[in-house]
Symmetry: C2
């Protein structure tokens, strides 16, 4: 279909950190790029928990894709379509869209990301929403704010307790951030504005399957994070495996004291931060291309991020089971935003190399370190500095570092300004300004 005179057609699916970076890296190339995303915005996921806990408004952590890429569109090598990619036809080189259209490509970059995984218990989803999209964040916000409102209406302490118990499952960065912030809200922001709620009765429980929080960090920082969580009032329970979730609470099995004991936590508000799996589009790609998926549903890729047997297709970001090819043994690439961005740049560079008839290069992940915040004035930082080595710190300094790093990486000057004002405001007043709820929670029965 494509003649020699027309520029090669590139389709990029997904405008998260990986997809956006790939589009930008191809900004000056003579190509006909089509970017497909099912939403109209690029989302800065590291701050999504702030939308869920009413600290920031949705527009502060997201930016319209068309606005972010307006200059590139004006230069003329990019079309943006808001559409859901429902399938891929690798033989015919076409992406299928929800409206029935087929989008032909010469090169395809799949950056469709990840979704929650309930480890086979999809029935837990209604009672324990995850946090991946703006809609998820609004849902969690409505549940959290709604729980306090319901608690204020209860006639007895017994009836009130499950509304004032919040359970966060999974102590990775998102779970730790959610638990710390919920505890702050419960203790500082909300109780002074209620008549019947006793702030001492609010419980925030963080349940983790492994033996420590923030498992991706070194044990010393995990320990510091746990101490900071405890100081904020979070009840941290490691070595606990969740066995059931329903609208009234959570069942789990604890091995904290050695032999397993079973427990039940009565809670009306449960947040899932435990498992992620590759987007369903990974399965569609595997079916059509013969690629393998790993246990988490991610596409196993070649060293140059392409799909085996399909050099014209690359998979990047959370959907890719990729390895970093640095010195020494190849290492698995973590599912973090800097890795997605680096994969985006690498896939774009390899695409251009292929067009020039040059060999592609293997992907190498450069780890600059990790940050996680726990709450007001509490965070852990683990930096990898060339020559110097690792720099690790926690507490107030780490929190300030976290703050400015996140503002720096936000997309758009306007968002940086607004987030800075919002945070300064929240810091002095303990107020969370975005505490307005327009829609009821997604699972209506939950709030009844």
């Amino acid at each position: 279909m494509n003649s020699q005179n027309k520029p090669p057609r590139v389709v990029i699916i997904g405008c998260g950190f990986g997809g956006l970076e790939a589009v930008r890296a191809l900004s000056r190339a003579e190509l006909e790029i089509t970017l497909v995303d099912r939403t109209n915005h690029h989302l800065f996921q590291p701050l999504l928990y702030q939308v869920a806990t009413a600290g920031l408004s949705a527009p502060a952590v997201s930016a319209p894709i068309r606005h972010v890429l307006r200059r590139q569109m004006k230069r003329g090598n990019l079309t943006v379509l808001q559409a859901e990619a429902t399938g891929i036809d690798a033989a015919q080189r076409r992406v299928l869209l929800d409206g029935g259209e087929a989008l032909p490509y010469d090169h395809l970059i799949v950056a469709a990301g990840a979704t929650h995984s309930y480890f086979g218990h999809d029935d837990w989803a209604a009672a324990a929403p995850g946090l991946k999209t703006l809609a998820d964040a609004f849902d969690v916000r409505a549940r959290v704010i709604g729980a306090f409102e319901r608690a204020e209406r209860c006639a007895s302490e017994d009836e009130r307790a499950p509304w004032m118990t919040f359970v966060v499952i999974g102590a990775g960065p998102t779970g730790v951030e959610m638990a710390g912030t919920l505890s702050e809200m419960a203790q500082h922001t909300l109780p002074m504005e209620f008549r019947r709620i006793d702030s001492k009765r609010t419980k925030v429980v963080l349940i983790e399957g492994s033996d420590r929080v923030l498992g991706a960090f070194v044990p010393r920082l995990s320990q510091r994070a746990r101490e900071q969580l405890t100081q904020l009032g979070v009840d941290v329970r490691t070595d606990c495996r969740v066995t059931g979730i329903d609208a009234e609470g959570v069942d789990y099995e604890s091995r904290e004291s050695g032999r397993p004991t079973t427990h039940r936590l009565a809670s009306k508000t449960v947040i899932w931060a435990a498992g992620v799996a590759g987007s369903p589009l990974g399965r569609a790609l595997a079916a059509t291309s013969g690629a393998a998926l790993d246990r988490a549903g991610r596409v196993v890729v070649e060293p140059d991020l392409s799909v085996p047997g399909h050099p014209e297709i690359s998979v990047i970001g959370d959907l890719a089971a990729a390895r970093s090819h640095g010195p020494g043994e190849p290492q698995p690439v973590p599912g973090v935003s800097p890795a997605a961005k680096q994969m985006g740049r690498s896939a774009a560079a390899n695409l251009l190399r292929r067009l020039r008839g040059q060999p592609t290069r293997p992907f190498r992940y450069i780890d600059y370190g990790s940050l996680a915040t726990i709450g007001r004035k509490a965070a852990v930082v683990d930096l990898t500095v060339p020559v110097v080595g690792a720099i690790r710190f926690s507490g107030l300094a780490a929190w300030l570092f976290w703050l400015f790093a996140h503002i720096y990486f936000l997309i758009g000057f306007r968002n940086r300004l607004i987030v800075m004002i919002d945070w300064a405001w929240a810091y002095w007043t303990y107020q969370r300004h975005a505490r307005v709820v327009a829609q009821p929670p997604a699972a209506m029965e939950h709030a009844s």
Copy 2:
């Protein structure tokens, strides 16, 4: 039930302009006040169209009720409940809540507001949402932004045209604001960020049943408003009666040229700004108290805003069919926010007078004038200044006056600051920052 020693129990339903003002006016009284609202926020409705057109984020035009009233709650005479009042039992003096609870009162102020009225055509609601709540605004935002996205995906101009035609029904202040802002978006904000959309093909049609826009203003200002709308590119059609609305467009009958002609406008995005009716709670109150409702479902009240035969119940704001008792004949009170606030203060003052055994006073509405904005640098202002008389102006000066008046009346210093920054930003960049859509429109079939 109430002994002489306990403070009288006051229930106030609704925390719009009227209810909030009543609560505040009773702030220092020795009462036991319960404020019931089905949402958790006070909404600054005059700026809701900005949320719908993505100029402002939801938290910028709303404030958590608990935060707004935190000092009064701390002083101890106020409890706030987020609950839906489903009925009133005037004989037993109880308000019935959605959870089945009954809230006893000695005095009741009903400020439940208004809802859209489709003049008996409730089937129009799915295709033509109104604009009363934050949920409505998100719905309209998703439809407007979504329409441009769909237009970009269309293969032909014919298919594209209905997605690029926006119809606003009703040319009161909300309709005029929506039409003007949509036209601005269509011409300045969006087309430069699309590849296939031709901005000249965007149509914004404003349909009005009477012979002029902004019928509440003097004819000269209506004429100026119409000119400003036309300059912004809005197609204004007065003397037109809508006869049908469905997912594909609007049928109407025009008398512009004298004899009636019928027309069909193909449009995927229709916004209803034509009719309002009293909240359904008005019917419940009428049934239990014997009060009369007017044609718009508003409760006909005594000169002191009480319900006939029930001096312990007052109705205020958009739910009240009230008259102003100034010098001369009693005049109907318009459904505007200053009137609601004044009714709130009047009902509160009469309540205190009754408690002191004093006679109540008739309500008198003091009209300070009206403002309406049309779009960028365009507005009309009609002020009533004591001694001086009427001051009327339009254009840029009116727009600046409108701007600062609205910022002044916003609740909360933080919101004032954020709205000021947002507007300055939008003014210089033509950008509408809140263009992110989390949820699909309420009527899913609409977007299909």
